[in-house]
């Protein structure tokens, strides 16, 4: 799929940029800064300026990401919180079996997008959506979709660890319990498997019956990951899973995400650029409810096609 030029740019600046070659280059040329009217950034960031004017420029989606088989397809997805539009026609495929990260400044709609996938936004008063998100070809917003079973196919981990006030064991098998699973052997096997996958088994195997509230923050977050993968979700959604953790716990979670990514499709929101660079295969950069650039993580960090992206990932803007 060819990357479309910015449709909203004035003609003087609509010069299509030459496609960089797909091989990774050690250095790259600056994109030509366009000069147009009403450029708040003095013409430095035309795309951001267009977004700030309320436009929705066509994002730069690299063919490297558009080509891979996807498990989740977000198509022209829009979301309003009452009068406020939080997502403006986001279109992006999520590669199956890979780790995709979403980066962007606070309030740009990363969490909103993530929570739209498992329809957690349904709970918020006054939410409206348009467009579609499909999981394995099924539109999750279609009429008559069973939201409960949809959520059982997805796992989610939140910003702050949220263990339930019960034992470690009961936390892990919660998803099975609410589905009516009572066989002890099944629960125990599932618990051990999930805890092993979450790299927590050795630490807690002797105290499965003790309360999860007494664990450290990092352990609690790994427990939440174990809890989210106990039903082998098709996609694991992580919303800034390390933002409440100290650097060491963060590192462990990142290792864990890399490991879990071998088995599951992971969609992770983060506003920590290094984290996105370390753990993900693909990276999407969002700004004010729009997708700005989306490609392989290596490309986004080393060969971004937009100056905006480059300056954002290097911390010069945002």
């Amino acid at each position: 799929m060819p990357v479309s030029p910015l449709m909203t740019q004035p003609p003087t600046s609509a010069k299509p940029q030459p496609e960089p070659p797909q091989v990774e280059l050690p250095a790259r040329k600056r994109p030509i800064a366009s000069v147009g009217p009403a450029n708040a950034s003095g013409g430095q960031y035309p795309v951001i300026d267009a977004i700030k004017r309320g436009e929705t420029p066509e994002p730069r989606r690299h063919e490297s990401v558009m080509g891979v088989p996807s498990i989740l397809e977000v198509r022209d997805f829009q979301l309003w919180y009452g009068q406020n539009k939080a997502l403006h026609g986001v279109t992006m495929p999520i590669a199956e079996g890979k780790i995709t990260s979403i980066i962007g400044p606070s309030g740009c709609g990363k969490s909103t997008l993530l929570r739209s996938v498992n329809r957690l936004n349904d709970l918020v008063d006054g939410v409206r959506t348009a467009g579609s998100i499909s999981l394995k070809g099924e539109d999750v917003y279609a009429r008559g979709v069973d939201v409960i079973s949809l959520r059982k196919r997805l796992g989610m981990v939140f910003q702050k660890p949220n263990p339930f006030p019960m034992s470690i064991f009961e936390n892990v098998v919660y998803a099975l319990r609410i589905s009516g699973e009572r066989r002890k052997s099944v629960l125990e096997a599932a618990c051990e498997k999930a805890l092993r996958q979450a790299a927590l088994w050795d630490e807690v195997k002797d105290r499965l019956k003790s309360s999860a509230m007494g664990m450290s923050g990092g352990q609690q977050q790994r427990l939440c990951i174990a809890r989210a993968i106990v039903c082998e979700p098709q996609v694991l959604l992580l919303d800034e899973p390390c933002s409440a953790l100290d650097p060491i716990a963060t590192l462990r979670i990142e290792e864990l995400i890399l490991e879990i990514g071998q088995r599951y499709t992971v969609l992770i929101v983060t506003h920590n650029m290094q984290q996105a660079a370390r753990v993900s295969d693909f990276t999407a950069f969002m700004y004010l409810g729009r997708l700005v650039e989306y490609g392989r993580t290596a490309d986004i960090f080393q060969l971004p096609r937009l100056r905006e992206t480059e300056d954002y990932v290097t911390g010069r803007f945002g």
């Binding site: 400044p105 498992n118 008063d125 959520r151 949220n162 019960m166």
Partner: protein, 380 residues
């Protein structure tokens, strides 16, 4: 925190500057306080402390006075008072019977025995315990459902404010009003409509006969007779108690549930919990606070006087049946205190009052402990 650093200087800036602005303002305010204002502050501060001390003093003096005036009964009956079911205000004389219930005769004449006035609190403790327990049994499920409604449904329908107001209004209705309603509406309704139906349904069930029959000893013979369903009994008393504790249990439960973090609810939903399952998770998270709410209700039920006195039947007896008249600690005080002229009788009533006060204090303290930690801690 490493994740926050590069991305959001813009986001953290306003918060930081607001904070420092606030500090500046309060800093300059401190120096501008005049001497007079400071003296005013001190006076007011001490006045507040004094008032607080006065309240504590009142509680202490209440206990002291109660213990003092109950002393004759405390000395005479000791802790045995708690387990004795005698309640004789006056000395009575009656024919003496042997173990088999036969009259003891001497020269063809029945031998008389004299029973001194004696008091025991077991029947009223029983009445209080059973009526409070029944009231909780009725009120707690309703209150918890209402609290869930107020927290999870009413805001969506935009009626949370109105519904909460109604419930709190119910708490402001004087207990006499409830009593009159119970006496003139609830009791006759129960007597004429509910009681007979209950009897028809439950009496044939083996093992439930005790609900409708009592065994009494009349002239040495044990007979079983039906309990008249008057509508003025333990059951109606419990019902009115349940209605009266609904508001407090509901509103405290609502506050407890409101304080359950959103991430807990979303956490369960994200795992595929149904609406109902997420409510259960909410209740589980708030369980100690909810227990506190229930304890507050229990304290109120145990101490409630007026309405209960009007419908509980006021009979100092221990009957297993909920359809028998009973007596509670509060109702025995309301009924008998006015006419208790004799010293020991009066002291015994005050002993009952002391037990009631102690119980209420314990319930309240435990309840506050349980609630305050939950509602105050996680408010944002």
């Amino acid at each position: 925190m490493n994740s926050a650093a590069p991305a959001s200087p813009a986001a953290s800036q306003p918060g930081w500057s607001r904070e420092s602005g606030g500090q500046n303002r309060s800093g300059s305010g401190e120096t501008g306080v005049s001497r007079r204002a400071r003296i005013g502050d001190a006076v007011l501060g001490w006045a507040c402390r004094l008032s607080a001390a006065l309240i504590a003093l009142m509680l202490v003096s209440l206990i002291v006075v109660l213990v003092h005036s109950a002393w004759p009964a405390i000395r005479q009956f000791g802790l045995g008072f708690l387990v004795s079911s005698d309640w004789r205000a006056n000395e009575i004389e009656r024919p003496l019977r042997d173990a088999a219930g036969k009259l003891v005769l001497r020269d063809g004449e029945p031998v008389m025995e004299t029973l001194a006035p004696s008091f025991g609190a077991l029947p009223v403790i029983w009445g209080t315990a059973v009526s409070s327990a029944l009231a909780l049994l009725i009120a707690v499920p309703i209150s918890l459902s209402a609290a869930i409604f107020l927290v999870r449904v009413a805001p969506k329908l935009r009626i949370a404010g109105a519904a909460s107001f109604l419930i709190e209004f119910l708490a402001a209705v004087p207990s006499l009003a409830f009593g009159i309603w119970a006496l003139f509406v609830l009791a006759p309704f129960f007597q004429n409509h509910v009681g007979p139906v209950l009897q028809r349904v439950f009496e044939p069930i083996p093992g439930l006969r005790w609900m409708f029959y009592e065994t009494v000893t009349v002239a040495g013979r044990t007979v079983e007779r039906p309990i008249p369903l008057t509508g003025r009994d333990l059951f109606t008393g419990s019902l009115i108690l349940a209605i009266m504790i609904l508001p407090i249990v509901t509103s405290v439960s609502r506050d407890v549930l409101k304080a359950v973090p959103r991430t807990q609810i979303e956490g369960t939903l994200a795992l595929g919990a149904t609406w109902w399952q997420s409510c259960v998770a909410m209740l589980r998270y708030g369980r100690s606070g909810l227990l506190g709410a229930i304890m507050l209700g229990l304290a109120r039920a145990a101490g409630e006087t007026m309405a209960v006195t009007m419908v509980i039947g006021n009979n100092n007896q221990i009957s297993p049946s909920p359809f028998a008249p009973a007596q509670t600690m509060a109702s025995v005080l309301a009924n008998e205190f006015g006419e208790a002229t004799e010293g020991l009788h009066r002291a015994s009533l005050l002993y009952v009052a002391l037990i009631l006060l102690t119980m209420s204090l314990v319930f309240n303290v435990v309840a506050r402990r349980l609630v305050v930690g939950k509602v105050g801690g996680v408010s944002h």
